[in-house]
């Protein structure tokens, strides 16, 4: 082990930290019902380990770092685990560790006894989940990758079904497990194609194997299917809006903020690292899927009435943007435009990091709201900015960031993505250089709709009057929860203020993947990734300008304003009988979108008659993909299994005959 430690010190450190996560999880079982022990000791420890993982990830991103490999004496005989730490793993480990640390600190204040699974067991599942995600990013052979991938799916399944006494949560968990395995099958088959007949399961061997173009495309499509299922690409997204809301909020934050990124990591690893190059239609397909997913996700997010479902659909949108960026990178790479591929990848990586920050932040904020009010339906919230000022302030940062508003971090990745689209007319292909720039129209539409979603999310939860009288008793989050939220909000602000640093960091990864980096430009203050005189943006100066202008306005008005300020009743055009029910409900706020994009939704509506004594209005919006894809598939499966059931006659003699025939068949095969 000593020589290993000298050969790959950072990788050994990361493995040690992963082991420490497992240990912390195991310690939870010592006193499974002691909330104080689990929440006040173990979860903060987990957060510290997360910081360590992030630091190790950052170390792997330093310019002097060379990829480190290890062969672990674990696994099956003759099939040991291979581990590799390179820039791509380092970037995603930094993401996992830093966002995970915030979530863990929040969890320390969040988990209580008496909510489903015992805290100690929950602690084990939670840390196994974190550790398995880290191992996915470290794996250097298909065997370890699949073991870690399945551990991740299983541990998160148990976390989703924390409240396993509720039937709808069990159902959501089952759907999640099913889709996770369908996706894992795709990945497994992809690796099966990639080894190219050599039966070597290390990624190095897969990189070295030469595949026919047809099999390369098969491998790519399988990877897109497998990782797309995990990421929630339309039409493989149906599990996401069910599973994410079912889980406790910190787990939703981990699934949305971190676990979806393992799918992004996997897709990058296979399509850009292990497959040396491909035809342009790979990129175009990925781009189209990504754009479709982004638009579909955001349109559905606008009409949700459950705050966690809304965020889940918003995750689908963000994954769509990320996948669209990967598609652009693939298109550029197929034409050997390496710098442009690096630009697209930079946007992808920064957006993945940003999404981990703000989506975790918002999911955690919904957790605080749920604990304070017991409600997660938007129709029963409102006015919480006065009861929960801290959560409201952090959630405002998260909402503005996810809406892509400058000078926060969401804008940086959106800006980079749009800059990439502006370069697409340089593609030397008569058809592509015409059609791809139009993707920018979809991106800008999705971004504008994201603003709509976030005004709805924030406005309905935190602004206005309390829609239920019980909300007046809501209490703000505990200080541990506040630290977790503040950590993530700080990340949003910092990435927004120093995008050029993020550009440099992402450059280390793009150098490894496509052999080019995006320069930040001549000045340390702005980032000018395309060319200094063509496009530049400075987050820091933007902050300074905005704060200066706002402050100066405030001071000037204060200096010259002569009138007093008086608190009175609201005016509302002199209409005196205002009740909280006259505000927009969540359904009401989404109504214009429902009207405009009507054909996209499957709407069931019950409208009361004028004569009804007790009028009731009900509207239910469903995904069309359920009825169009999944239900027929389910029925087909049912029919086939019913036919197969003939085999199960229930007679012992017949079963013995089956075994006998199988034995004969196998013997014939072997001989």
């Amino acid at each position: 082990m000593n020589e290993l430690a000298t050969a790959a010190p950072t990788a050994v450190v990361v493995l040690g930290l992963v082991g420490a996560w497992l240990l912390v999880g195991g310690l939870g079982l010592l006193r499974p019902n002691a909330v104080g022990w689990v929440a006040r000791v173990l979860f903060p420890l987990g957060a510290l380990i997360g910081l360590g993982v992030a630091a190790a990830g950052v170390a792997a991103l330093l310019p002097a770092f060379a990829p480190q490999r290890l062969v672990l004496p674990l696994g099956l005989p003759d099939l040991p685990f291979h581990v590799r730490l390179d820039a791509l793993s380092g970037f995603f480990l930094a993401l996992l560790g830093s966002a995970g640390a915030g979530i863990s600190i929040f969890s320390a204040g969040y988990f209580r006894a008496g909510e489903g699974t015992a805290p100690g067991l929950l602690c084990l599942q939670y840390h196994v989940f974190l550790a398995s995600m880290a191992m996915v990013m470290l794996a250097d052979d298909a065997y370890l990758f699949m073991v870690a991938w399945e551990t991740m799916a299983l541990s998160s399944y148990f976390l989703v079904t924390t409240q396993h006494r509720l039937p709808e949560i069990r159902r959501a968990g089952f759907l999640y497990l099913l889709m996770a395995h369908v996706g894992a099958l795709g990945i497994l088959l992809c690796f099966g194609v990639l080894h190219g007949g050599s039966w070597e399961m290390t990624f190095d061997a897969m990189r070295a194997s030469t595949l026919a173009p047809f099999w390369m495309s098969v491998a790519f499509l399988l990877a897109l299917f497998g990782f797309g299922t995990k990421a929630g690409l339309v039409p493989l997204h149906v599990w996401l809006p069910e599973a994410h809301p079912a889980a406790p909020s910190p787990v939703s934050a981990m699934m949305s903020g971190l676990m979806l990124k393992t799918a992004v990591y996997g897709l990058l690893r296979v399509s850009l690292d292990m497959l040396p190059g491909g035809p342009w239609w790979w990129g175009l397909l990925t781009l189209a899927l990504g754009l479709g997913t982004a638009l579909y996700g955001v349109i559905f997010a606008t009409v949700q009435t459950d705050m966690k479902r809304l965020l889940a659909y918003s995750s689908i949108e963000n994954i769509g943007l990320i996948v669209a960026g990967i598609g652009l990178a693939l298109v550029f790479r197929s034409f050997e435009l390496r710098v442009l591929a690096a630009l697209a990848l930079t946007a992808v990586l920064i957006h993945a990091f940003n999404h981990a920050l703000f989506k975790s932040l918002l999911f955690l904020a919904t957790g605080s709201v749920m604990h304070a009010t017991g409600e997660r339906s938007l129709g029963k919230l409102g006015g919480l900015i006065r009861r929960m000022p801290w959560v409201a302030a952090f959630a405002l940062i998260g909402s503005l960031a996810i809406a892509g508003l400058p000078p926060l971090n969401g804008f940086v990745s959106e800006w980079l993505l749009l800059q990439t689209f502006l370069q697409t007319p340089r593609i030397p292909h008569a058809f592509l250089n015409m059609i791809v720039p139009l993707g920018a129209a979809v991106i800008s539409l999705a971004a504008a709709l994201a603003g709509y979603v976030m005004v709805k999310f924030y406005g309905v939860i935190f602004l206005g009057k309390h829609r239920e009288s019980s909300l007046a008793a809501a209490r703000d989050a505990s200080w541990l929860e506040r630290i977790g939220l503040a950590w993530l909000a700080l990340g949003c602000v910092l990435v927004g203020a120093f995008p050029q640093v993020a550009l440099d960091v992402a450059g280390r990864v793009t150098q490894a993947l496509v052999g080019a980096t995006v320069q930040r430009g001549p000045s340390p203050w702005w980032m000018a990734p395309v060319a200094a005189n063509q496009a530049s943006y400075s987050g820091l100066w933007y902050w300074v300008g905005l704060l200066l202008a706002t402050g100066a306005t405030y001071l000037l008005v204060r200096a010259f304003y002569r009138g007093r300020t008086r608190r009175t009743a609201q005016w509302d055009c002199g209409y005196p009988w205002q009740t909280p029910r006259m505000q927009d409900s969540a359904e009401g706020f989404g109504q214009p979108i429902r009207h405009l994009f009507g054909p996209v939704f499957k709407i069931e509506r019950e409208v009361p008659l004028p004569t009804d004594a007790a009028p009731k209005y009900r509207i239910q919006i469903e995904d069309r993909f359920w009825a169009a894809c999944y239900q027929p598939l389910g029925r087909l499966l049912q029919r086939i299994t019913e036919r197969m059931a003939v085999l199960q006659g229930g007679r012992l003699a017949v079963y013995l005959l089956y075994s006998f025939l199988t034995l004969i068949f196998l013997l014939v095969c072997v001989l």
Partner: protein
């Protein structure tokens, strides 16, 4: 050299802040003349500001810090936007901080804060206005970006000063078909974004049809003054974006001399006078659309801009 550049940067900002109410007054005057009403004086907006800054401010009882802070943020966003747009000179240090995409982001920031503030009191009209404003907003923002994309692709840059220099460097006047499409789309976006007819009526008193006005119903005195000023600045900024993209003549480019700036101010005033009169004429001639016809109007703007993009990519024109 650098000191003068920063001086003119601040000067351009101050010029925008000072001229914006005048421009709004001019549009109102033209409208009144065209509609056979006796016109308010040109400086009516300044009088209104003075009045509002003297009055006692009333705040609803449950107004939060967001409600009180939003007018300042909205006003600051519009001032920053004025700092980025090369209305007088292309030597703008601020334009390096934020390019045209960030400019769209600034407008979006202002809109989001306005909508959030409108929802804060929890009145029926407030949330109604916020919802409508966001609906108009999500339709105009992509359309505006597509208009800008036309200019970006033509000039190969997203920096507004460079776009102006690129246009002015051309020795003879070229009419680009793609820019013509973009110009029409831009005018449609301008009308919708600035709450003008046919999308919204700036002088309406009928609450049920309001969009922008419904959001600011709860504001009074200094807050209302800032919001009104910000919306005049927004109209001014939009007009200036139009000039930079489609009629940049007169903007000082090479070096900044006092003479060049004086000429630029004159050109700007002349262009504003023309644009204001045209806006008033258009508004007089059109009727307000039903709310759910507005998306059709804006989808058309979006499609026109995309069409311009296609024309550019297909014909390289």
């Amino acid at each position: 050299m650098t000191a003068t550049v920063y001086f003119w940067q601040i000067g351009a900002c101050a010029c925008a802040i000072a001229l914006a109410p005048l421009f709004a007054g001019w549009v109102a005057q033209c409208r009144a003349i065209l509609q056979n009403r006796s016109a308010p004086p040109l400086w009516q907006p300044y009088r209104m500001l003075r009045k509002l800054f003297r009055k006692e401010a009333t705040l609803a009882e449950d107004a939060s810090w967001l409600f009180r802070g939003a007018p300042y943020v909205v006003f600051a966003a519009m001032v920053l936007a004025a700092a980025i747009i090369p209305s007088l000179t292309t030597q703008l240090p601020a334009a390096r901080v934020a390019d045209a995409i960030a400019l769209v982001g600034l407008f979006a920031t202002a809109r989001v804060f306005m909508a959030l503030a409108a929802m804060d009191i929890g009145t029926a009209f407030g949330s109604l206005g916020a919802r409508r404003e966001m609906m108009i907003g999500f339709l105009t923002e992509p359309a505006l970006l597509m208009v800008l994309f036309n200019a970006f692709l033509m000039a190969g840059t997203t920096a507004l000063p460079a776009i102006v220099q690129n246009t002015l460097a051309q020795s003879h006047l070229v009419l680009h078909p793609s820019l013509a499409f973009a110009a029409v789309a831009f005018v449609m976006v301008l009308l919708a974004e600035n709450a003008r007819l046919p999308i919204d009526n700036p002088s309406t008193h009928l609450e049920l049809t309001m969009i922008h006005e419904a959001m600011v119903l709860e504001y009074s005195a200094r807050h209302l003054a800032l919001i009104e000023w910000a919306s005049w600045l927004k109209l001014f900024n939009y007009a200036c974006i139009g000039f930079t993209l489609f009629a940049p003549w007169g903007i000082a480019t090479h070096g900044v001399s006092a003479g060049g700036i004086a000429l630029a101010v004159l050109a700007l005033v002349a262009k504003l006078a023309l644009a204001g009169a045209a806006l008033a004429l258009f508004e007089t001639g059109s009727a307000k659309l039903r709310l759910f016809r507005a998306p059709e109007f804006l989808t058309m703007a979006f499609l026109l801009a995309v069409l311009g993009l296609l024309v550019h990519l297909l014909l390289k024109a």
